[in-house]
């Protein structure tokens, strides 16, 4: 794979590219899904190819080919250069500046006791069926379990001399119970919604989730939600659990701090950002309890690597410190535009997409105390758990999120269960209202595999370490007016 990348880079520079890099990627993905005690899907897929990115004058070009061969690499390089030249007609800059970088050299492999791909499919099916069985309940009409495993080999070479080889192992699992009665539908999930939780780790991660142990609670809660009262419509104090904080952090801090969005290059699709370049070091993003870091070195993080897809080494960076914006997620190009930072967040989906500025692992740093401590100071409020729905505007300013379940908080204690909970807010106001963050013992790492961005679309796998947090004066129970 590394030799193929060399062919591609050599062919691109010989065709006139000022800069070229090539990624050869081989990815294997297994997916098992069961539903109501039957197998719903069993698949084992592989894809491989080479993607070549070039700079010709002031224009980028990218082309890819599924063939991991010299012909495939050379042809992709030639097409990338041709497309860059054709695109240069609209270029406004004579050159594109990249932050200087020592050529990356190195290898990386996910530490794993048991390679998730090597676990037999039959074992994965058995695990799903056993976990599902535990969720059965008279009102639960649909039980589902999913397991995914992935192995990816990725080689990177650039015309600046970078030479990187990395192997990643990922796996994840989850269960869902859907209860239906009298036209009402309610769902509970574990360990998180939307396909479970994933990590860059060996199969031991899936085993640690203990799906079977949690299954009865998941089924019972789904059924109980059918009889729960709806979340009231009011302005109140909320505590969001660590899993809902994943979504909150991802959507209202992760995406707006992507520097390509700040510069408008996602304006047509994913959107822009309420942040401006000049906000760095000045903007109050939230309360003094808000500390956010981007860390591509986090063990088990889906955004962990030795080098990103530009060859920038992994690092731990401050994004928000005591509520003040201190950093952006960047590429070599956008960091040069800003005059700050060095890139490190460029990631491409497989071999057939151009790398974009993406989240790696973005964490909300813990405060002090337990969830009980957060609740103790609330006379009347709502405790929100497990994301159910989400929507946020193109500048990442106005959001409405829903959770699978909520509980009322009365005099510091959890009370009755509530269904159909939603809350909405404006990003800086919401984070400014955060007056407590739970401590290190409550910190959990959650991995998502469905972060979409770019045209053509790309999926990114990212992780977030979060803790439960408390927010004051939040509008909850938003449905139709």
């Amino acid at each position: 794979m590394r030799a193929l990348c060399d062919h591609a880079v050599d062919a691109a520079t010989a065709s006139g590219a000022d800069y070229a890099d090539a990624r050869a990627v081989s990815r294997r993905v297994q997916h098992v899904a069961t539903k109501n005690g039957e197998v719903d899907a069993v698949s084992d897929g592989e894809t491989e190819g080479v993607g070549v990115r070039v700079l010709v004058g002031g224009a980028w070009g990218f082309a890819c080919d599924r063939r991991l061969s010299e012909d495939g690499a050379r042809e992709a390089a030639a097409r990338a250069v041709a497309f860059a030249r054709a695109s240069a007609a609209s270029a406004k800059r004579a050159t594109i500046e990249l932050v200087p970088l020592q050529p990356a050299r190195g290898e990386y492999r996910t530490p794993a006791e048991r390679d998730p791909i090597d676990v037999p499919l039959s074992e994965k099916i058995d695990l799903c069926l056993r976990a599902e069985a535990g969720m059965r309940h008279a009102d639960v009409k649909i039980t589902e379990a999913v397991v995914r495993s992935q192995r990816e080999r990725r080689a990177f070479r650039s015309s600046e001399g970078a030479d990187v080889y990395q192997e990643f192992a990922e796996c994840g699992a989850g269960i869902d119970a859907l209860a239906v009665r009298d036209g009402r539908v309610q769902v509970r999930s574990y360990p998180s919604a939307h396909g479970g939780a994933s990590a860059q780790a060996g199969w031991e991660f899936v085993e640690s989730l203990q799906l079977e142990r949690e299954a009865p609670r998941v089924g019972e809660e789904a059924a109980a939600l059918l009889r729960a009262d709806p979340c009231p419509s009011e302005v109140t104090t909320i505590v969001a659990d660590a899993e809902q904080m994943v979504l909150q952090l991802h959507e209202s801090v992760g995406h707006p701090t992507e520097l390509d969005r700040v510069y408008g290059t996602e304006a047509a699709y994913a959107g822009t950002s309420f942040l401006k370049p000049g906000d760095l070091g000045n903007l109050r993003y939230g309360s003094e309890h808000m500390n956010v870091i981007a860390d591509s070195t986090t063990p088990e993080g889906l955004g962990t690597f030795a080098f990103d897809d530009e060859g920038v080494p992994a690092a731990r960076e401050t994004i928000v410190e005591s509520g003040i914006l201190r950093g952006f997620l960047s590429s070599r190009e956008t960091a040069a535009q800003l005059g700050s930072g060095h890139g490190g967040s460029m990631r491409g989906d497989g071999w057939s997409r151009m790398p974009l500025v993406r989240m790696t692992n973005l964490h909300l740093e813990p405060g002090e105390g337990s969830v009980e401590d957060l609740l103790a100071d609330i006379d009347d409020g709502i405790y929100l758990c497990t994301n159910k729905s989400w929507s946020i505007d193109d500048k990442r300013l106005n959001f409405q999120f829903g959770t699978q379940v909520a509980w009322e908080i009365k005099k510091g204690k959890l009370g009755r269960m509530l269904r159909d909970a939603t809350y909405m807010g404006r990003t800086p106001d919401f984070w400014a209202s955060m007056d407590a963050v739970a401590g290190r013992d409550e910190w959990r790492l959650h991995g998502l595999t469905n972060c979409g961005k770019g045209q053509p679309g790309q999926h990114a796998h990212v992780s977030h370490g979060t803790v439960p947090a408390r927010f004051r004066d939040v509008r909850v129970g938003v449905r139709e007016a």
């Binding site: 899904a33 539903k35 039957e38 197998v39 719903d40 899907a41 698949s43 084992d44 897929g45 592989e46 894809t47 491989e48 190819g49 224009a59 980028w60 990218f62 890819c64 599924r66 041709a82 497309f83 054709a86 695109s87 609209s90 270029a91 406004k92 800059r93 037999p120 099916i125 069926l129 009409k141 859907l178 239906v180 036209g183 009402r184 539908v185 510069y263 408008g264 290059t265 304006a267 047509a268 822009t272 151009m354 729905s389 929507s391 946020i392 505007d393 193109d394 500048k395 106005n398 409405q400 829903g402 939603t422 979409g452 045209q455 053509p456 679309g457 790309q458 938003v478 449905r479 139709e480």
Partner: protein, 456 residues
């Protein structure tokens, strides 16, 4: 050998590599170009070439799938081994309906040699023509075209293939305080006028400066086809498939045969309509059928694949709406939703609304309650007030949380012309699809809050 014959030959070579009682191979190939621009310069030009094979094997009644894009003999043989292991590790699937038997598929349009032959230079020129048409706003968007080949062959003797082309130009014209949107899609690139799309977006943008806020509440509204299409797609994805109905997650569960919408509203899934992005068969080879989902307000049916048809029993048959075998747990999908036009001009729809809002485009939708058809999202790139039967001042982006069924039940009218709106975001392999919709006016579009103003 023609591309169709080559794809079928690959599909046959693939299923013959398998040791199984039954075997099916789905070939999916893509050759596409994407000239994406921002700030009126092309910044992410992407050329893609890929070809994959999805193998589905049946061994002792057990089903397993594998996918590869290594199409040499070794790659196919290894994929067949992986599919066999998947099948052998699986219990019997009571809902598996067997592989598609030989069947005629409809003749459809949807392929244009000129679009297929577009070079990277011509694709970049599509973007350049949009950019050159406007000089007082930054332009953000893309020109894309591609050719997609789908071929399926199996041990039943069924063998079908289709070449499809598609092209789209999408433009957001924006300054710091203004933004407007326009888009056009077709399977024949020569039907597109990138400059006209750019001018439409820019003209819309110029009217959005100094946007004001409005109070939350349920408003009468005119939705442009871009906005109506997106709401319809989210409703269709969550409620118009048979699996959602069987599992009682759909708004249409238990409502088939009932009058649920305004009598002027009908809804079809019509992959045969040459104005859309036609398909001859679905991704398990079943012939595409035009399905009446709603006729004159009465819920008639949903779309089916072979698996849900078997599960439902009662002689149900696939309507040709299956996803690829590896994704069939999502159930059948209505890829070609089509709303027949009404009798109103746009001015007449605005006049009927009299006092309300005008919505160009939506952003980041989420289904809050699929059983009730409640969808949330934001308006974007062209939201205006309607006062006295005229479109007046611009509004900031609005947060809506609205019932799609209520919106369509309280219809004030539909536009005279339908527009193809692309619904693919081009994730994974290219498979062009979109909706055919007119403008729509309704009494019930519920706003729950306000967001940021137009612009970057």
């Amino acid at each position: 050998m023609s591309p169709e014959a080559a794809a079928l030959e690959l599909a046959e070579r693939a299923f013959r590599a398998a040791e199984a009682d039954q075997a099916e191979a789905l070939v999916h190939s893509e050759r596409s170009g994407f000239a994406r621009f921002a700030g009126s310069e092309v910044h992410q030009p992407t050329l893609i070439r890929d070809e994959s094979v999805t193998l589905r094997l049946v061994r002792d009644g057990r089903v397993g799938c594998a996918v590869t894009n290594r199409t040499d003999d070794e790659g196919l043989r290894e994929a067949a081994q992986r599919a066999a292991e998947a099948a052998d590790g699986s219990p019997l699937d009571p809902y598996f309906a067997g592989l598609q038997e030989p069947a005629d598929v409809p003749e459809v349009e949807g392929y244009d040699e000129g679009t297929s032959a577009l070079t990277p230079e011509e694709q970049a020129d599509g973007a350049a023509r949009a950019i050159a048409a406007v000089d007082d706003s930054g332009l953000y968007g893309y020109f894309t075209s591609g050719v997609t080949e789908v071929a399926l062959a199996s041990t039943t003797g069924h063998a079908v293939s289709q070449r499809m082309t598609d092209a789209s130009v999408l433009v957001v014209a924006a300054t710091e305080t203004e933004s407007g949107f326009a888009e056009a899609s077709a399977w024949r690139a020569s039907d597109l006028d990138p400059a006209a799309v750019a001018r439409e977006a820019a003209e819309k943008a110029r009217r959005t400066s100094k946007a004001s806020e409005i109070e939350a509440g349920t408003y009468r509204a005119v939705l442009e086809p871009y906005a109506f299409s997106e709401l319809l797609w989210y409703f269709g994805w969550s409620s118009v498939g048979a699996l959602a109905c069987l599992e009682e997650r759909s708004y249409l569960s238990g409502r088939i045969g009932e009058t649920v919408f305004h009598q002027e509203f009908s809804l079809y899934d019509d992959a045969l309509d040459p104005r859309g992005l036609p398909k001859a068969f679905d991704l398990e080879g079943a012939p595409k059928q035009r399905v009446a989902i709603v006729e004159q307000g009465i819920a008639r049916d949903v779309v089916w694949d072979r698996r849900t048809a078997k599960r439902a029993g009662g002689g149900r048959r696939s309507t040709g709406h299956a996803l690829q075998p590896t994704a069939q747990s999502f159930g059948p999908v209505p890829f070609n939703l089509s709303v027949p036009p009404g009798d109103a001009t746009l001015d007449e729809l605005v006049s009927r609304v009299d006092d309300g809002i005008y919505v160009t485009r939506l952003h980041y939708l989420g289904v809050v309650d699929p059983r009730e058809g409640i969808i949330t999202g934001m308006t974007r790139d062209g939201t205006f007030r309607i006062e006295g039967g005229r479109v007046t001042q611009p509004l900031v982006n609005l947060r809506f949380t609205t019932s799609f069924p209520a919106l369509v039940e309280k219809l004030l009218g539909l536009g005279k012309e339908v527009v193809l709106v692309n619904r693919s975001d081009f994730y994974d392999e290219r498979y062009p699809f979109g909706t055919l919709v007119p403008h729509a006016a309704s009494e019930a579009f519920t706003i729950v809050g306000t967001g940021s103003g137009p612009g970057l």
